[in-house]
Symmetry: C2
């Protein structure tokens, strides 16, 4: 039932790579880590590539500074998820002919400031013309004298954490694409390189929430053959501003976990017997991890919602945007239908 | 006069990167090498990114197999130019919603077969929807126990070589976009990783001809502060099929050096006192380098054409496609006007 291929995105990726040979020095298998991990002499190389196109074409990102910030952040977040230190990034920019000079400057400023924030560097790149603005980044990191972190390693009983409260990515999407707010809420996520570097030795498995919490947990479930149960007081793991957005538009707050526009926090598990040390070290490093829940034996994502512990149909939720052909309003309608079913089951 | 910024492409790149800090472990400066070279513990990392978008949107590449082959080849060629061994490649695919399944399969087959040809691997990637098909690749290589090759190092008196005869890239463009031939000539360039690995120790500087010979020589001229003079019998350095295409459409054959669609050969210089050893080692390795000409003190690109040794206006030629706003027919018209001037000067 819980095959990787039940998720349309996974299936598409598997189809694309089916004819490719695998490198003998690559440590991870497909879907098993946020960045690819390569064995090289006395250390490991972490490399990842991520592009920003649909976020621009749908209007989700229209601030060039944000686009520049994000192309660095999305790639650094993948490095953080595997516990790598950043070496730098290559950036490809497809720029339409009518793209204004001041916007290009803002875009480059976003890239530049993100690089400073992460103490990293643009190592090179490529530009080309095209019909629409598209940015593509490839980040390089190294993992030395420590084990790489992959998405594998979650064990029943482990505690599930994130690096901060969640929901701001999807709340931003709601404020930008759905609600009639005069202005969108501010959105400038930070890749958790610092946190990953500090807490690395305690994390059994890790993945970033670039596609939202449910996508993250569902993928971790599929590769680890375990499930996750969120804390009963899960509203406390939602960012305050995100919660306020949902209240103001009258949408159920748990939908912040469903949406595919994430917040780039790290979600990871810590074995129970290491939990005290982990929390102490986090405190020492000024990091406040958020306890999300626990790892359970049943391969399900369970949330206590509408007065009952529901097993969420995460396959349905992850495939919903494909089924809605990317139409955000139709997607929300389908999501609300699923929410109604959960309510109904209870009533 | 011969500033890097006289070339619109260089100027655009410099503008884009002007606000970026430079990595302290990056060995090359901007424009000084085909791939970026990074110092890491006991070896150097070579990384590069290159995308294919305009070649698709202009109709130059419409065979999905070729597109797949090329996204690997263009990136491997950059690794070859710096003398790196390939570790692998990350590939981002922007795929329009109506892109047919069989085309996608052909595209992936092109990628897969190119990887086998270069004994390399797709390490990871990313896919996304978009208005037009765009492929972007980032290749990773290592340079161990030998010096990296950059574009710097050409000295007056050095001999100028390429890994094979030139012109097939631009001849393909002519057959595809300009002539009324029933079918385009075949085009499937090979990144010269093998040749680079064998001849590495003799090459003083190196650059691939991804943008055609004149762009390559012009860029090498600007970063080395030397010039180049082609052999008097330069028609012998042109590929036979390429020559035939030009003859059949009545275009001057030297325009095969001007066009911006290259053949991905390596152009490099060898010091005169190492020339014999170089040729012997090439022979041993079954490589037949083509002698193009020599390095001269004047910062000019000189070609013996229409009965006279002309200093070619390479700034004009390199900027011509920008001036023609990418319109290939207008570009050719401007190029032929320049050709007429050369003829006229002689008459």
């Amino acid at each position: 039932m819980y095959k990787l291929n039940s998720i349309i995105e996974n299936e598409n990726i598997n189809k694309l790579i089916s004819s490719f040979r695998r490198s003998p020095v690559q440590i991870n298998k497909p879907h098993e880590s946020d960045a690819e991990i390569i064995r090289l002499s006395d250390f490991r190389l972490a490399i990842t590539t991520d592009n920003i196109s649909e976020e621009i074409s749908t209007g989700l990102y229209d601030d060039p500074y944000l686009i520049g910030w994000m192309i660095v952040t999305v790639n650094m977040s993948d490095l953080a998820a595997v516990g790598a230190s950043t070496v730098g990034i290559l950036i490809t920019e497809i720029i339409p002919p009518n793209y204004e000079e001041y916007k290009l400057k803002e875009l480059q400023r976003g890239i530049s400031e993100a690089c400073i924030a992460y103490n990293t560097f643009v190592l090179g790149g490529d530009t080309n013309g095209g019909k629409e603005l598209i940015l593509s980044g490839s980040a390089i990191g190294i993992i030395k004298n420590k084990k790489p972190i992959t998405r594998l390693g979650a064990k029943v009983g482990d505690i599930l954490y994130s690096t901060a409260k969640l929901g701001i990515g999807n709340a931003y999407a709601v404020s930008k694409l759905i609600s009639r707010r005069s202005s969108a809420i501010s959105y400038k996520p930070i890749a958790r390189l610092r946190e990953s570097g500090s807490l690395n030795k305690y994390t059994a498995c890790c993945m970033d929430t670039s596609d939202g919490l449910i996508s993250t947990l569902d993928q971790l479930m599929r590769v680890n053959n375990v499930g996750f149960e969120l804390c009963k007081d899960w509203e406390n793991i939602i960012d305050d501003v995100a919660l306020e957005v949902m209240n103001s538009v009258g949408l159920p707050s748990w939908l912040l976990f469903c949406g595919q526009h994430g917040e780039f926090e790290l979600v990871f598990t810590v074995p129970q017997n290491q939990n005290k040390q982990f929390l102490a070290e986090a405190l020492l490093n000024g990091i406040e991890p958020i306890k999300l829940g626990k790892v359970i034996p049943d391969k399900e994502i369970k949330i206590n919602i509408y007065g009952e512990l529901h097993s969420i149909d995460t396959t349905l939720i992850r495939n919903l945007l494909f089924k809605a052909n990317g139409d955000v309003n139709h997607y929300l309608k389908l999501l609300l239908e699923y929410d109604s079913q959960l309510k109904l089951n209870h009533a």
